[in-house]
């Protein structure tokens, strides 16, 4: 399966701390994307990292990609209560198709 698998499944931190979530996948990818989902709501695109990129930043978000280990991490710095959500990685397989394969997600709780 090309689907990503996140760990941890759940993470609880204090406001102001950093949160790190990891994603592993099994096959060669074209790109990897991170999404956020607030409870019962839609998926919000956070960041896309291509297979030839190693690190990408967007505001308080930092994503790394290690294709040799088939893994990615999402770091949220200086977390806020509003960051409480589920975070998913989604991979695009290297076939030319653009279908996203989602992982199981990490449930992040930021305690004010």
């Amino acid at each position: 399966s090309q689907q990503g698998e996140e760990d941890p499944q759940a993470l609880s931190i204090q406001e102001g701390e950093n949160a790190t979530m990891n994603c592993s996948y099994k096959t060669s990818i074209n790109n990897l994307q991170w999404y956020r989902q607030n409870s019962g709501r839609g998926l919000v695109h956070l960041i896309l990292i291509r297979s030839n990129e190693r690190e990408k930043h967007s505001g308080r978000l930092r994503v790394t990609l290690d294709t040799s280990k088939k893994s990615s991490s999402l770091l949220i710095t200086a977390s806020r209560a509003a960051d409480t959500a589920s975070y998913f990685c989604a991979t695009v397989y290297q076939t030319g198709a653009n279908n996203l394969f989602f992982g199981t997600g990490t449930r992040l709780t930021v305690i004010p």
Partner: protein, 116 residues
């Protein structure tokens, strides 16, 4: 900021009934997708659509499912005879481009389908 919209937000139907879920993708996007998320499970790809035809579909997308772009703005998912296991959140997404270029998919808020 442009966004993908979906209607209805919640649909309750009886087993065996037909349902149509509607989506309005972002206006300049050319590629459209349906995904579903059964409660507590992963988001799963159903189908992608470009130039008025299906580009890719998953094993889930069997003969009970169909998609259509009836006009220049709407994109619909039809389930002909719903089953209990079709109960899920259905997400529509769209993207500007396709293929080896990496392009973000933008998701709608979802339609929660409950089959009783």
């Amino acid at each position: 900021e442009p966004e993908v919209t979906q209607t209805p937000s919640h649909q309750v139907t009886q087993m065996g009934q037909e349902v149509i879920l509607r989506c309005v993708p972002i206006s300049n996007h050319l590629y459209f997708y349906w995904y579903r998320q059964i409660l507590g499970q992963k988001v799963e790809f159903l189908v992608s659509f470009y130039n008025n035809e299906i580009s890719e579909k998953s094993e889930i997308f069997d003969d009970q499912f169909s998609v259509e772009r009836p006009d220049g703005s709407n994109f619909t998912l039809k389930i002909r005879s719903t089953k209990l296991e079709d109960s899920a959140m259905y997400f529509c997404a769209s993207s500007e481009e396709w293929g080896q270029g990496a392009h973000e998919q933008y998701f709608g808020p979802g339609t929660r389908l409950t089959v009783t």
